[in-house]
């Protein structure tokens, strides 16, 4: 695929499934490598939240903080991951919302099971990825995860969505 080629849905879906697999297999360094050097990753705390700047977020990481988040996940002293979570994700309903020549915004639905210490949690919602095609393949310029229960009382969120 040439660097300026347009995206199609099947290619986007394949990329999202690959991303989900990296997360499920706890290959967080490889997941981080999917993001551009100025990317952001956002899990709003309110439905339809307009901005991460004037309202709190469950997670809002610029690239620097995202790197720190991923590095912490590898720490032997991350007590909130002792024992480690196991996750299983399903990605579906993939549509391209906005397309340019070498970039697009993809919308998808996800369901995520997280098992840890004798309890299973279920998350679901809508993801938006801005994907860009560069010399090294597809990268994520930003990712927004709208959880259905974003404003519920929740125990700690440690494994990325």
């Amino acid at each position: 695929m040439s660097a300026g080629a347009a995206f199609d849905t099947a290619e986007c879906e394949q990329f999202l499934v690959h991303e989900a697999r990296l997360l499920d297999e706890a290959r967080f360094d490889e997941w981080l490598a999917l993001f551009t050097t100025d990317a952001w990753y956002w899990v709003p705390a309110e439905p339809g939240q307009a901005s991460p700047r004037d309202t709190i977020s469950l997670i809002y990481d610029d690239r620097r903080l995202l790197e720190t988040r991923v590095r912490r996940l590898a720490s032997p002293r991350i007590y909130s991951q002792e024992p480690r979570s196991r996750t299983s994700r399903i990605i579906a309903n993939v549509t391209i919302e906005a397309a340019e020549s070498a970039a697009c915004v993809v919308r998808s639905k996800f369901q995520l099971l997280e098992y840890r210490r004798e309890a299973q949690r279920m998350f679901g919602g809508t993801c938006f990825h801005r994907l860009v095609r560069g010399a090294d393949g597809i990268q994520i310029a930003w990712k927004r995860v709208d959880l259905v229960n974003c404003d519920a009382p929740l125990e700690g969120l440690v494994v990325p969505f």
Partner: protein
């Protein structure tokens, strides 16, 4: 519920140690709701959350659902969220604006101050039924009072005034409000709600604990220290990483530079922790320079300097409020069951400060109070871990004696630790706990029903 005598309660708290049962016994928990949450002043919201007549906000004291309302006359009301007819919860929304409250069950309506306005089919009732009876209402909580915009309610008819209850802690609220160039705060930016499987007391017991960050937060301390500052940040990550690195201050720092102060009724604050230079780059930060200009324009140079010199970290108001004046954060701890707790955390905008200041507040909130924060998630794990540990049959006494021998008198009527690693603030909370928990038994021989005013008693019975 097994009755627990005053002597039994007194035997659970000894100098420098408490019985594990205080964190695990459902009967103790129920007594705490009755004698602590049913008596003390409990934070229920901020006046800016109900700015205009008709504005309402769902809140609670203990497990009791309440409504904070600005009534037609502009007065703050605190109402039990319960219809006087069949007991249904009248308002199911978290907040909003209305001209009256209407029960969805049979259409009874109420004025904003809780008085019954109208009810359909008012005929055929027995003689004692009188629609003008003031108890036929969304009953008011017996006492409600504000300090500089912070609203508290008390389920007890009698007791100390709010300012007497807060005592010297009023200066922490002053610190928060005085930092606003226009002298007013506004609750803004949403609310975090996080939960853990552990006792409600653990939360405040951790917030002034200067000995835990180095240990509990090691994963985020290490990860932030190894983070290159060359990597792109839009500013939010920079604030987060600076805070996480600061958590790694060695014990010597906490013992030499930081203090812990405690006051009657269980309150405390951790002080002299950060100066603004460490976190918002102070004078190097153009936003902070603009802020100081705005402050000096409103308050003058000298007063501004005096205000910004106050360096308090967490201020804890017993039993369930903690706030941070420097970064305008506020947490409210809600006990759910003996081993289940929900915490709501709020941010405040300083009126008259540059907009960018609030963006920094949001970044800070995400870092220290966020459900997905790299810091808080390890605290939540600890609360749950304590809950799990106490489900064993291990040591009967939990140790809270660190720094006991070094406690000192404070010039404002409290006690302080020799330095911040003292657990004096936990001991101080248990002093308040003991006072409140044994109040009922001091009055033994007098049936409790005889002391509770009729309206309150009926309100309690309906909950």
């Amino acid at each position: 519920m097994t009755p627990i005598s005053g002597d039994e309660i007194r035997a659970m708290v000894q100098p420098g140690r408490v019985q594990r049962r205080l964190y695990t016994d459902p009967d103790i928990f129920e007594l705490e709701l009755e004698r602590i949450f049913g008596a003390a002043w409990i934070y229920v919201g901020h006046e800016s959350q109900v700015k205009n007549p008709g504005d309402f906000l769902a809140t609670r004291i203990g497990r009791k659902p309440l409504l904070l309302v600005r009534d037609a006359d502009g007065q703050i009301q605190l109402l039990h969220n319960q219809c006087a007819h069949r007991g249904s919860m009248v308002v199911a929304l978290n907040g909003g604006h209305t001209s009256e409250f209407r029960c969805c069950y049979h259409g009874w309506t109420y004025h904003l101050d809780g008085r019954l306005k109208a009810a359909p089919l008012l005929h055929g009732y027995p003689a004692h039924f009188d629609p003008k009876n003031p108890e036929l209402a969304m009953l008011r909580v017996p006492r409600v009072a504000s300090y500089r915009g912070f609203v508290f309610g008390s389920l007890a008819e009698d007791g100390p005034s709010l300012t007497d209850f807060l005592g010297y802690m009023t200066t922490s609220f002053d610190d928060m409000v005085d930092r606003a160039p226009d002298g007013e705060l506004e609750a803004a930016g949403g609310v975090f709600k996080h939960s853990y499987q552990g006792n409600w007391k653990l939360y405040l017991e951790n917030l002034c604990d200067a000995a835990h960050p180095l240990f509990v937060h090691q994963s985020s301390i290490d990860a932030s220290r190894e983070q290159s500052d060359e990597v792109f940040s839009d500013g939010s990550g920079e604030i987060a990483i600076r805070q996480m690195r600061q958590n790694g201050a060695p014990y010597s720092f906490w013992e030499a530079n930081v203090g812990i102060w405690t006051y009657p009724n269980g309150h405390s604050f951790l002080g002299d922790y950060h100066d603004d230079a460490k976190l918002v780059a102070a004078m190097n930060d153009p936003t902070f320079r603009d802020y100081i200009v705005a402050m000096e324009a409103k308050k003058g140079k000298e007063q501004t300097k005096k205000i910004l010199e106050v360096r308090r970290w967490n201020s804890n108001v017993y039993p369930n409020l903690s706030f941070m004046s420097q970064f305008q954060q506020l947490r409210v701890v809600h006990p759910i069951s003996v081993n289940e707790t929900v915490v709501h955390t709020y941010s405040f905008r300083l009126r008259g400060a540059p907009a960018r200041m609030f963006e920094n507040v949001i970044s800070f909130a995400n870092t220290v109070n966020g459900t997905g924060s790299l810091v808080l998630t390890d605290d939540l794990e600890i609360y749950t871990r304590v809950g799990l540990g106490l489900s064993s049959a291990g040591a009967q006494w939990l140790e809270i004696g660190r720094g006991y021998a070094g406690d000192l008198a404070d010039e404002h009527g409290g006690r302080r630790g020799k330095n911040s690693t003292s657990e004096i603030y936990i001991r101080n909370m248990f002093d308040a706990w003991l006072t409140l928990m044994t109040q009922e038994s001091e009055l033994q021989g007098e049936p409790s029903a005889a002391r509770a005013p009729a309206a309150q008693r009926r309100a309690e019975m309906r909950q």
